[in-house]
């Protein structure tokens, strides 16, 4: 299969992730969307690395994966504390700040 197949696949996953971010009400749900988007990034990187027979892409993937983990950790922590103070994790109920 050609490079474009993988790239297209990644693009689709990316779009789906974006869709999730846009439509989910629950903060955790949104997080999952973001996960998908980053996942698409990984697919891209690995695909490019393979088709250029270059290791940098793989290293890059490693870094993105770990950064993703960190982000998720922070994000979930925020969700939890948010839940503590607001008793909800519905992202679109948060409009104390607006305008």
């Amino acid at each position: 299969m050609g490079l474009h197949a993988y790239l297209t696949l990644a693009a689709l996953v990316f779009a789906i992730g974006l869709f999730g971010v846009l439509t989910r009400r629950n903060a955790v749900g949104i997080l999952l969307g973001i996960e998908l988007m980053l996942n698409a990034v990984n697919i891209n990187l690995v695909a490019f690395a393979r088709f250029r027979a270059d290791v940098a892409g793989l290293v890059f993937t490693l870094f993105t994966i770990s950064i993703t983990v960190a982000e998720v950790a922070v994000g979930l922590a925020i969700v939890i504390v948010l839940f503590r103070v607001r008793r909800t994790v519905e992202a679109d109920r948060l409009d104390l700040l607006r305008g």
């Binding site: 971010v21 949104i30 992202a91 607006r98």
Partner: protein
């Protein structure tokens, strides 16, 4: 600097010095009579100087650069001394002096500061008038032309807290200004065509026919407009009667003897240019004659002694203009001088009467001849002169005018003027018979005025006679009209007198019936309403000008500025709307990002090619 320059200059500067002194040194001005002393002294010296200049017949032309420019000055000021100006110098200084002396008594119960103000204005006026007379160029003439207008404005409004006086002053300024617009425009056009304002240069060009400018007619007409305003020619004559709100001596000086004749003087001064445009000259003649007749007719129905005199002034100015229009500038100038003398006399006489009686209304006077004989005598002398009976000054000058107009075969103007002779005699004697010989019903005991007023009266009366005799002896210089002319005009004058006598003294004719009979009735109706001209101007001013201005004001405030406010208001509203996208929901913010991405992607695709 030779005497022929500095002496006229001195004559010019003295009143100015007096003015500056009074204007700057407030205590002196507030002292009142002392201020008067200063001003009068200055005038006396000036008169002496003027007499010398006149009798020696100085001629000189001196100019100084006034507005510098790259290639030589753009405009100059200076002195233009020649017989014309010399005669005017004498007239102006003389009358001013007499009037100032006269005013001393006439205004004796004014507050000192007010009196000081009066004499400050008087000095300024004298200066301005002299400057006008001596002007070597259009610019200088215009400068002083405006200044005399200013003085007239200030002096008419001397009693500024009288509403009537205030509006009269403003009216006078506006209407004369209207004429001056033409004047300034005209001289500017003339300048841009010829590159100079100076009379001599222009006359020289006129001599060698180098003045064949297209539209010279228009230019000269515009210049003439200035004279129309200043010399109260139809249709801009309406301000002069109202100007009578000022103190009587002022009327005598400014609105009879000197300022109002500036127009005539100007036309006489630039005769060489006017002769190049015969049509304009003809127009001047026609307008002059018509003005004379019109004013006379209004004078016949006027009950206010000063206004009668004012109308007669307008009428006489009409004569002068007619003469100038007929090319008889000599005659017009002669009449200017004589009229200056006897009209001043009449006004001062009227002033004495008013001073004594405390009213302007001739019907509230009567039997004054017995009460104040001296005033009566001099007033009658003046009246006769104005009516144009020999051997008084008025006769000769007026006859010269009639002759001039006849010879220029302006037949219709001639007839109008002739009719005016009759009317003049009539309305003047109407005043005399009613005021001096009518049944006395004046409150209190009017009596002759103090010498400070009597002196000038007698002096002027004497002059009237003397000048008349002098002209008789000297064969009134220049040319006579056809032989029948003199008797004809005398007859007309006598006719007028007789009618007045029959109507107002003898009672043979009932004035009411006279006015009631058909052709006269309409005239009477119109004349009493000043032929609706004042109403017309008032309507234009109030209805058109103020109305339009209010419209413009509204447009500016609510449309032009409105658009601006609209813009700013929309900006504010826009900000308010735009912040709505800041909904506060996280997903919407992500939408923001998504749209941003889209925008960038599309935009990139778009500009890539």
């Amino acid at each position: 600097m030779s005497v022929i320059v500095w002496l006229p200059l001195l004559v010019l500067v003295l009143p100015f010095a007096a003015f500056v002194l009074l204007a700057v040194v407030a205590p002196l001005r507030r002292a009142g009579r002392r201020a008067a002393g200063v001003s009068i002294a200055a005038m006396a010296v000036a008169l002496a100087g003027a007499l010398v200049v006149w009798s020696e017949g100085f001629r000189s032309l001196t100019t100084w650069a006034w507005i510098p420019a790259d290639g030589g000055p753009m405009a100059t000021v200076g002195l233009f001394v020649d017989p014309l100006s010399n005669a005017m110098l004498v007239l102006v200084t003389l009358v001013s002096l007499l009037v100032q002396i006269y005013s001393l008594a006439y205004l004796h119960d004014e507050r000192p500061p007010a009196l000081g103000r009066y004499y400050t204005y008087q000095s300024l006026f004298a200066f301005s008038m002299l400057g006008l007379v001596l002007a070597p160029s259009f610019v200088q003439m215009f400068i002083f032309w405006e200044l005399v207008g200013l003085c007239s404005y200030l002096l008419i409004g001397y009693w500024y807290d009288r509403p009537a006086a205030a509006s009269a002053a403003v009216k006078a300024f506006w209407i004369t200004k209207l004429g001056d617009l033409g004047f300034i425009a005209g001289i500017v056009m003339l300048w841009s065509a010829t590159g100079t304002f100076e009379f001599q240069a222009l006359f020289a060009k006129a001599q060698e026919h180098a003045l064949a400018i297209d539209g010279l007619g228009t230019i000269m007409f515009l210049i003439y407009l200035g004279a129309v305003g200043k010399s109260a020619q139809f249709p801009l004559h309406v301000w002069l009667p109202d100007a009578m709100e000022g103190p009587t001596p002022v009327s005598a000086l400014i609105h009879a003897a000197t300022m109002v004749t500036a127009g005539v003087f100007m036309v006489a001064r630039v005769q060489p240019l006017f002769v190049l445009v015969p049509d304009v000259l003809a127009l001047i003649g026609w307008v002059g004659a018509f003005t004379a007749l019109l004013a006379a007719s209004m004078a016949c129905v006027e009950g206010d002694i000063k206004r009668v005199l004012a109308y007669s002034t307008v009428s006489q100015l009409g004569y002068m203009m007619a003469a100038a229009g007929a090319g008889a500038s000599y005659a017009s100038f002669l009449h200017l001088l004589t009229h200056g003398v006897f009209k001043a006399l009449l006004f001062l006489g009227a002033g004495a009467v008013i001073h004594a009686v405390g009213t302007n209304d001739i019907f509230r006077m009567g039997g004054l001849f017995r009460a104040m004989p001296q005033t009566g005598v001099v007033f009658i002398v003046g009246t006769l002169a104005l009516a144009g009976l020999p051997p008084l000054a008025g006769f000769f000058s007026k006859e010269a005018i009639l002759a001039g107009v006849w010879e220029a075969d302006l037949t219709w103007p001639f007839l109008m003027l002739a009719l005016t002779v009759f009317l003049t005699a009539f309305y003047m004697f109407r005043v005399v018979f009613i005021a001096f010989f009518g049944r006395a019903h004046a409150a209190g005991h009017p009596h002759d005025p103090p010498w400070a007023m009597r002196g000038p009266l007698w002096l002027l009366a004497g002059l009237t006679v003397f000048v008349g005799l002098r002209l008789w002896m000297g064969g009134s210089g220049g040319h006579h009209g056809p032989g029948w002319l003199a008797p004809f005009s005398i007859a007309l004058a006598l006719g007028g007198i007789v009618l007045a006598w029959a109507t107002y003294r003898r009672g043979a004719v009932d004035p009411a019936r006279l006015a009631g009979s058909f052709p006269l009735s309409t005239l009477d109706f119109l004349a009493r309403r000043r032929y609706g001209l004042d109403a017309l101007y008032g309507g234009l001013y109030r209805g058109f000008l103020l109305g339009f201005s209010r419209l413009v004001g509204w447009v500016d405030r609510y449309l032009v500025d409105g658009l601006l406010n609209l813009l700013s208001a929309c900006t504010l509203r826009g900000g308010d709307l735009l912040r709505r996208i800041q909904s506060g929901r996280a997903q919407d913010y992500v939408y923001g990002v998504a749209f941003g991405v889209l925008f960038l992607l599309v935009w990139a695709q778009w500009w890539k090619r």
